[in-house]
Amino acid sequence: MDLIWLIPLLPGLGALVNGLVGVRAFGKRTAGLVANAAMAAALALALYAFWQLLSLPADAREHTVRLAAWIPPIPLALGNGAIGGFTVPWGFRLDPLSGLMILVVTLVGFLIHVYSTGYMHGETRGAYARFFAYLNLFAFFMLVLVLGDNFLVMFVGWEGVGLCSYLLIGYYYEKQSASDAGKKAFIVNRIGDWGFIVGIFMVYGTFGTLDFRAVADAAGPMGVEAAGFGTLSIITLLLFIGATGKSAQIPLYVWLPDAMEGPTPVSALIHAATMVTAGVYMVGRNAVLFSHAPMTMEVVAVVGVATAFMAATIGLAQHDIKRVLAYSTVSQLGFMFIAMGVGAFAAGAFHLMTHAFFKALLFLCSGSVIHAMAGEQDMRRMGGLKPHLPITYATMLVGTLAIAGIPPLSGFFSKDEILYRAFLDHKVIWGVAVATALMTAFYMYRLMSLTFFGAYRGPAWEAHGGRADHGHAASGGGHGHGGGGWRGPHESPRSMTVPLQLLAVGAVLAGFVGVPAALGGGNAIEHFLEPSFVARTAAPPGATAPATHEARGLGEAAHAAESKGGEGTGHAAHLSRSAELGLMALSVLAGIVGIAAAYRIFVRAPEIAETLARRWSGAHRVLSNKYYVDELYGATVVAGTMGAARGLWAFDRSVVDGAVNGSGWLTVSSAWVSHALDKYIVDGLVNLVGAVLEAGSFVVRRVQTGLVQNYALVMLFGVFAFVSVYLFVR
């Protein structure tokens, strides 16, 4: 386990090799091989490390490796006036939570790498290596993110994955929309990072350390800020702002749908399975802090549920296959935050894991579809693909059922756990979440229907036999056929279908690690993860509130003993087994209803969709325009910033500079104000002084008339002035 730092480093090396050498020298085969080998090695190491972790006793499953001092200690005062030392090590920590995450990242990552070798084969040689370099780099940063033992190392990964996301979204950089989307992703993430980083400063100021474990241990004995809005609440709120950016929650979710401009494997890996869950992971990582700040928890839950619902509604009306999935991702991330917000950290992490499998699967399937359709992403031009793409269809169906929460697929267990915990916490949240689950099932099956069922609506392929210029430049789908003409929808190569099948297996089986007690399972994953969510220091006796709260948040079994003192909530956290089963049934029902409705509308009677869209045209328009949020942001935040920028620039050129140039000053006073604002005002305050001096110079020169008697006059005036001053002043 001392070698865990190698897990991120291997893909890092892969990225280095491919980035420095590969883009110039490697053939596609070599480049793909390097990247895949790096990922495979990382996967192997991760499996080994995880196995070692499991072999430890449950309360000792934590291992920290520190490579070096990143920032050596520098004295700094803390919030309480004491002087501490600000220092950050390059430290990595393996514990159950990070163990789970590295497994997900390396496993899903590896599969997507494999998939990409097939999907990206149409790229030119350099671009191919570049893609894999980025992908490896992403894996590197993602692993740093999850393995980091302190806030700053996590932040390294945090920003790093943002960068890779930027690079990969903008992979087709010649496409304006792609580079726009990349930029948007990065900047919106940066807005979130603002909160994260300020939160980090507060963490240091409060605890004097940035180490997760030390922070958690220090926060453990602190009181829960149930009554007011204390330091921990502010910290957690700031951290959560960071999470909303990375995990695409309201109000910072807008970048994720646009991020679908990237190649589909990227969408699968980054924007579905791993990176976007970083926010969830971060909240889970700081579970102790969050659980001490109930007000933040409320915010988290509300934001989560609102995002889940809103994204699901938008998903109903999208036509782009990837966009549907993107909104679905946003929605599912909302679910995870609901879990976090209601204190079900383990459930959230569980859903994170299952989601990684089925959403990656769904994305890769959509990639397969797009591949088959030569880059077409609009579902209105698909349909009836089932016979052409049997494997894709089957695996995608598995994914759809999983996300819809149909037992015994993985999505069922994790989603159900969240719904259950939400029900315990707040009925309204639960209600909305169930509605969302229904919609999820609906729009996912709508996607299935539009893609695989019905009549084929796409272009005729025989007529396009000679079409050579399709491919990424035209469609953005990132797919090319090595120069050959498109010969109609067809199943993808093995390098793509095998990962699909493996992921489908995962999507089916991943849920079984968390079979709830109500179904006779042991909820193994929750027990496994739980040490990551608690402070090691025991709560001081009498501090009932935190204990109670943790009990609520962390599962009753673990803290049953501690929650003895706590009454009310502690007991309310239990439902009878039958009630639990009833809830379970309800959620399954929601899934089935959704699927059935979608089947009815889109497969059986497609005209209903038209009718509905016409009848609810207003709502439909709002939904298909994504609630106009992008437009709103464009009109307010972006326009405001750019307006300020332009205004300040004008200010800079005219006033600040102008006081010292003068030409600006003169121009302002002239009638040409409108034109001048743009052009001359800029050269305006600095130059004013210059102009004044120059004007002064001319005045002084005019006095020099060349007439001797005037000179004598000036001299006499000097005498006169001095004498007068003497006479009248002194």
């Binding site: 008339t705 008697q709 005037n710 006499l716 004498v723």
Partner: protein
Amino acid sequence: MAEAAAFYILAALILGFGVLVVTAKSAVHSVLFLVADFLCVAALYVTLQAEFLAVIQVMVYAGGIVVLYLFVVMLVNLKRPPDAQRDPRRLGRLGAVLAVAVMVELAAILAVGWSRPEGEAGALGPSNVAQVGRALYTDYLIPFELASILLLVAMIGAILLARREM
């Protein structure tokens, strides 16, 4: 009383001729009034028991300098009247006003009164030519000699400037 009468008469003459010098239309007239003025000043010196200076005044000023002026005036006045052109930017009138203002100020300050510096009650006889001579040749020998060089410079300079060739 006689002293006072002499002073007032001479003062009136000096100032009167001074006004004429400054206001005379013709430069020749100016020069002539200047001679008269200088002679009056010389007379004033006599009343102040500065006979030597009075003589010098008559000899150098009235005899030398004024002749020079007259000569130059004659030389340059032949062609056209000098006051023909007038530059509007010249502030002559303001100059006169300012000069009067300065005069008033000076007079105001000087009229406040003057007192003899202490411990300097020297003895200057009624005929002090010898004393002046001694002062010039002992105390002020160095400036006296320097003045000779100055006069040499002036002489050579005047020649340099006045002759036609370079």
